[in-house]
């Protein structure tokens, strides 16, 4: 993230400079999440394989109408190269899923609170004044579509599309996937009636799957942008925290 406060305004960094970008907390959380999300997605697909039908409402089973069915009930919805484990085992997938769920359950609220406290969320991720004007959004979309990525000091700030993606993950997808996950637990749901917030347990299960699809989409776009923006520099910045500003276009 941009540490504008680390750099005196007088000596604005320019293209080619190696600058401090990501805080340690952001870097740790990024890699922990990367690991946890991959494991949750892959073990989650195996859990889905056990009953590859989704419903709306409180109940839903084979005699009821499903809004989504992938593969047949006898076949496997998602192949082994996408799942943990790679062979059919609902029990093993649950062992992975329910253990790594703790990383998201504990990590996400901690990171949110920490990011509010150190103003990372408000300063680097939240939309600046005027940023949500349609003309400005359109400008960012066209620049992105033509792969004219920001250079120099401007590359330190996230644009509207990046902010939307990161805020969407932090404030929408993560809370949604955690709460709908808790809603499916009959033990937790008795303690706190989470499933009723989502219109029933099967609705929560459907939303859990949709949120997971949202993560998969985010990861695909995120990785594509990392490759396009210069994978070495981008990955280094998320490991060491230091980022080389792209040179200004001449």
């Amino acid at each position: 993230m941009a540490h504008q406060n680390d750099t005196p305004a007088a000596s604005q960094p320019s293209g080619g400079d190696l600058v401090k970008r990501h805080r340690l907390s952001t870097r740790i959380w990024h890699w922990l999440n990367a690991l946890a999300i991959f494991i949750m997605l892959m073990s989650g697909l195996m859990i889905f394989n056990a009953h590859p039908r989704l419903y709306w409402g409180e109940f839903g089973a084979n005699p009821d109408a499903a809004w989504l069915e992938i593969g047949s009930m006898e076949g496997i919805a998602f192949p082994g190269w996408l799942t943990i484990p790679s062979f059919y085992s609902l029990a093993d997938a649950r062992i992975w899923h329910l253990a790594f769920a703790w990383i998201l359950l504990v990590g996400a609220p901690l990171y949110l609170i920490w990011s509010l406290a150190n103003r990372h969320l408000q300063r680097d991720l939240w939309f600046a004044r005027g940023e949500l004007r349609p003309s400005r959004i359109w400008h960012d979309i066209t620049q992105h579509a033509r792969l004219r990525l920001p250079t120099g000091a401007a590359a330190l700030n996230y644009n509207v599309l990046q902010k939307t993606a990161y805020l969407g993950v932090l404030l929408v997808l993560l809370p949604l996937v955690i709460l709908t996950g808790l809603a499916m637990s009959p033990g937790f749901d008795a303690a706190v009636p989470v499933s009723s917030w989502f219109g029933g347990r099967q609705s929560a299960r459907s939303l859990h799957f949709i949120a997971a699809a949202g993560f998969a989409l985010f990861i695909a776009v995120h990785l594509a942008m990392v490759v396009l923006a210069g994978p070495f520099n981008e990955v280094r910045s998320m490991i060491t925290g230091r980022y080389r500003l792209p040179k200004e276009r001449v």
Binding site: E58, F59, D64, I84, D92, A99, S185, D189, A190
Partner: protein, 253 residues
């Protein structure tokens, strides 16, 4: 031979190799006993968290209008042993629920005795470990009443349910702890949706333990045993699925 490795190709090869390594790595970790037990340990924290937050909270109960039109039969559909068939033939008139183990007074309760006890009626959601749910109405005496009648010895820590059916050649059984055994919604259901329990749903009596997943809700309960430990009983993990598939013993999640 000359191999040209540009950055893009290197990345592509790397990504493919990494995903392959990750997959075989995950399978290897999956069968590594130390890693597996670490995962299971983290998974077992859910039980403590649920008890801490919820205590003896009740599972949600629904209105008759919320019930599933068809309640799916799952697991064993008919134990079909000679003994069981004979009981079905006589309408379970000569059947008795055995209550024993670490109790002061072992019991043999005929179905009529269970029906004469104070009844609890509840419309609840049945959540299968596979992901589906069905809502039905259940009636029967609270398990706590039956256990109090027999009088648990202080050493009793677990309640085991021995069933009439076998799966894959193993007798079906399940177990719960005393917190769940004395939970108000834990009942020995002999009636479902206003009718005596069908063979498909576990006649004459099945367990309802509403804050846990379906595989804990033992059907065809023949004998209830109070025990100090689950060790030494079949696979030692407290249930058919726990022993034979490594499902978690605590199925509240």
């Amino acid at each position: 031979m000359r191999i040209v490795l540009n950055r893009r190709r290197l990345l592509g090869t790397g990504a493919l190799g990494a995903s392959g390594l990750m997959l075989s790595g995950c399978d290897r970790l999956n069968s590594n006993p130390a890693f597996r037990s670490a995962l299971q340990e983290a998974g077992s924290w859910h039980e403590g968290a649920h008890r801490l937050i919820g205590g003896q909270a009740l599972a949600r109960e629904y209105a008759p209008a919320d019930m599933s039109p068809v309640f799916r039969v799952n697991g064993t559909a008919d134990p079909a042993t000679a003994d069981y068939n004979a009981h079905v033939g006589s309408g379970f008139a000569r059947w008795g629920l055995q209550v024993g183990g670490l109790v002061k007074q072992p019991l043999a309760l005929p179905l009529s005795a269970l029906q004469a006890m104070q009844q609890r009626v509840q419309i609840t959601r049945h959540d299968c470990v596979e992901g589906w749910s069905a809502i039905g109405q259940w009636q029967g005496p609270q398990l706590g009443q039956v256990l109090s009648l027999a009088g648990l010895l202080p050493t009793a820590k677990f309640i085991v349910f021995h069933c009439a059916d076998t799966l894959e050649g193993h007798p079906y059984y399940e177990s719960i702890d005393l917190a769940d055994a004395f939970h108000p919604q834990t009942i020995l259901a002999w009636e479902m949706n206003g009718k005596p329990l069908s063979v498909g749903h576990g006649a004459p009596v099945r367990l309802r333990v509403e804050r846990q997943l379906g595989y804990k809700h033992a059907k065809y309960v023949m004998r209830i045993e109070a025990r100090a430990t689950l060790a030494g009983l079949y696979g030692g993990k407290g249930g058919f699925w726990e022993d034979n598939r490594d499902y978690q013993w605590y199925a509240g999640i």
